[in-house]
Symmetry: C2
Subunit: 206 residues, 2 copies
């Protein structure tokens, strides 16, 4: 199978070793599911003893959580330096930047949205929840609706629900190829605007 290198042990800085193992873990967990990836495999590919992985991360589960955390990082650049024009224009730009990020980190994004044990695992849920909150803030900022007070929670919930559509639409684009990037751009932009400008007032006042 793989080439046998690393005949003798090499001592490394903890941070470097940790990063090396984490990199391998991210690649493997990204490519296959949790249950089918073993610590032994990660250790082998990192050229390291199996026990060392547990030593650095405390166990398989915690290593996995670390990988998930890294994958869910939403780049702040998506909603930075937006021109002070209409909400439509700003959201359009925001969506476009986001699609750019997704296209570049294709595999990582697909792994992140197809995570295991969603809804069953409190810690995974917590991580995803925090990521969703950040993403929601970005959208509201772009839509210039950070200052709504009445029905604020309903609005945020709607944006989170919309991110569910975003994830499903991403799969349609990247995996099935049923939608193009510009299709997603149109659909996501219009849907956000529709939710914010039409549906939200109906919920708030109804």
């Amino acid at each position: 199978m793989g080439v046998q290198r690393q005949a003798q042990r090499r001592r490394m800085e903890p941070d470097a070793r940790r990063a090396e193992i984490l990199g391998v873990a991210r690649r493997l967990f990204g490519a296959r599911s949790y249950g089918t990836v073993s610590i032994a495999e990660i250790a082998a590919e990192a050229g390291v003893a199996r026990a060392l992985v547990s030593h650095y991360f405390g166990g398989k589960r915690q290593l996995y959580l670390e990988v998930v955390r890294q994958m869910m990082v939403v780049p702040a650049s998506v909603s930075e330096r937006l021109p002070p024009t209409t909400a439509e224009e700003r959201i359009s730009i925001c969506v476009d930047r986001w699609l750019e990020v997704v296209e570049r980190n294709r595999e990582m994004w697909l792994s992140a949205i197809g995570l295991e044990a969603l809804g069953n695992d409190p810690e995974i849920d917590q991580i995803m929840l925090e990521a969703d909150e950040i993403a929601t803030d970005r959208v509201l900022e772009a839509a210039m609706m950070t200052d709504v007070s009445e029905g604020r929670e309903k609005l945020r919930a709607m944006i989170r629900a919309h991110s569910g559509m975003l994830k499903a639409a991403s799969r349609e684009w990247l995996v099935r190829g049923a939608l193009s990037r510009s299709d997603l751009h149109v659909m996501l932009t219009r849907t956000v605007l529709h939710l914010v400008h039409t549906v939200f007032p109906a919920l708030r006042d109804g």
Copy 2:
């Protein structure tokens, strides 16, 4: 822990035994995650030897797939006997029935939409995909758009993307309580109509 019953073995019809085991598995997999449920536990609660579970289902994984299949069944009643009025009215009824089903099978639905290994596991994906296709047919039927030819695949992809929002919105309703049932009703109905009547033409002609 559990009461020790079933001191002696009882021989049952294969179908009955199979159904009994499947019932226990559905309950346990619905309540906790795949990795934390063991075959031994399922066998114990079913009052049966561990090997019998493997005998009937061929292994833990296949038993799990069987459970998933059962959970994803979309009742046909949702889109049956819809009155021949406007698309708005029909979709509104359809959404309402659907919310009724979800509310009744709360735990099962939450388990189903929070499945493990989504996007990593071809067989799980296949099951979810088939379920999505059926659900899409139901929606298009309600919207009276079963006969579109141009851009048919784009339209279906959009509906599938919308079901991603539906799932996320369900979580907001059932888990977080940030949205009410009537909120979902309004949001989902209006969003489907917006996608079908406004966004879809833009994609098709753009």
